[in-house]
Symmetry: C2
Subunit: 157 residues, 2 copies
DNA sequence: CAATACTTGACTAAAATAGTTGGTTTAATA
DNA sequence: TATTAAACCAACTATTTTAGTCAAGTATTG
């Protein structure tokens, strides 16, 4: 699972869509303007999101995109995965052609971590993000953040 | 938080270090050979890991690197963060200069997800990965994986 | 002193990211 | 029916990042 600004763009656009797709299809130019992402870049991203069956399109004037499923049934992980086709597996691919035991061990450990990150991101739905935001108030977020370590404060994701 | 192969290299190298740094410092050339990462690239990564106080170096013959703290006290998140200095914050930076309410909302939602990923990765220590691996047997891993959705099967991290 | 190994900085090739340009189809509506 | 708004498509480009190379140091041990 790669996690870069490309994925951020995709998730941001999908959230924009999730928030307002009840009132008919949403055009990419709208999202482009609201989220400040270039239109043609959005087109590229949505071509992939469509292939992954995460969005449905309506062509012609008044057309646009809508979520293919309910926001509750679309995981953040699936969105990020959809726009990152080139996945670089580890060299040994978990296969038996590792030299010695050590190299394979660290590869297995990394795989283990990867699985956890996947499970984590697949466990969060778009609706999940929207809902918590609606419930949460500013003061509680700040106290949450104060609890994290100094490392966390430096982290901008 | 960026999650790319750069971070994978760093975590892999740190795991290699964690596994064997009990018996004195480990040289980068050893790690390079075992993990199949170019020596000079490792040097760049370890320069950053050192600045982040995650490793300590011993110079001269017989020298090398050792973890600066116990494996239990080094989180995967801190390793990944250390090697990714260029963090691209969202344009609005969570500040008040967003236009309208909508753009800010999706930014806040993304920030929320970022925080969760951070907390998640900061909650996993190197020791954590090593320990679970020692306990876990192959059959249980496979049944774990079978439980995940079809999306998960496609994901290579 | 000599060998080892860390340290630093400048450089480069390849890949990915982000954006551009210029179309074509599709479908609603005036 | 002509116009128009939108998805769709493909090729291209600039920028950034990744990954790796090279070379010249510095510190330390034996």
């Amino acid at each position: 699972m790669k996690l870069t600004s490309k994925g951020r763009y995709a998730v941001t656009a999908m959230l924009d869509l999730a928030i307002r797709c009840d009132s008919g299809p949403v055009s990419l130019s709208e999202i482009s303007e609201r989220q400040d992402i270039s239109l043609s870049y959005l087109e590229q991203l949505f071509a992939r999101l469509r292939k992954a069956n995460l969005v449905r399109s309506v062509r012609g004037p008044g057309g646009g995109y809508a979520l293919a499923r309910k926001a509750k049934e679309i995981s953040v992980g699936s969105v990020i995965h959809a726009v990152n086709e080139t996945v670089d597996a580890t060299r040994c691919k978990g296969q038996a052609d590792c030299q010695g035991g050590e190299r394979c061990l660290t590869h297995t450990l990394w795989q283990d971590l990867s699985d956890r990150v996947n499970d984590f991101l697949n466990g969060i739905s778009l609706q999940d993000l929207i809902s918590t935001e609606q419930v949460k108030d500013v003061s509680s977020r700040q106290s949450d953040r104060a609890k994290t370590t100094d490392i966390n404060i430096l982290l901008q994701v």
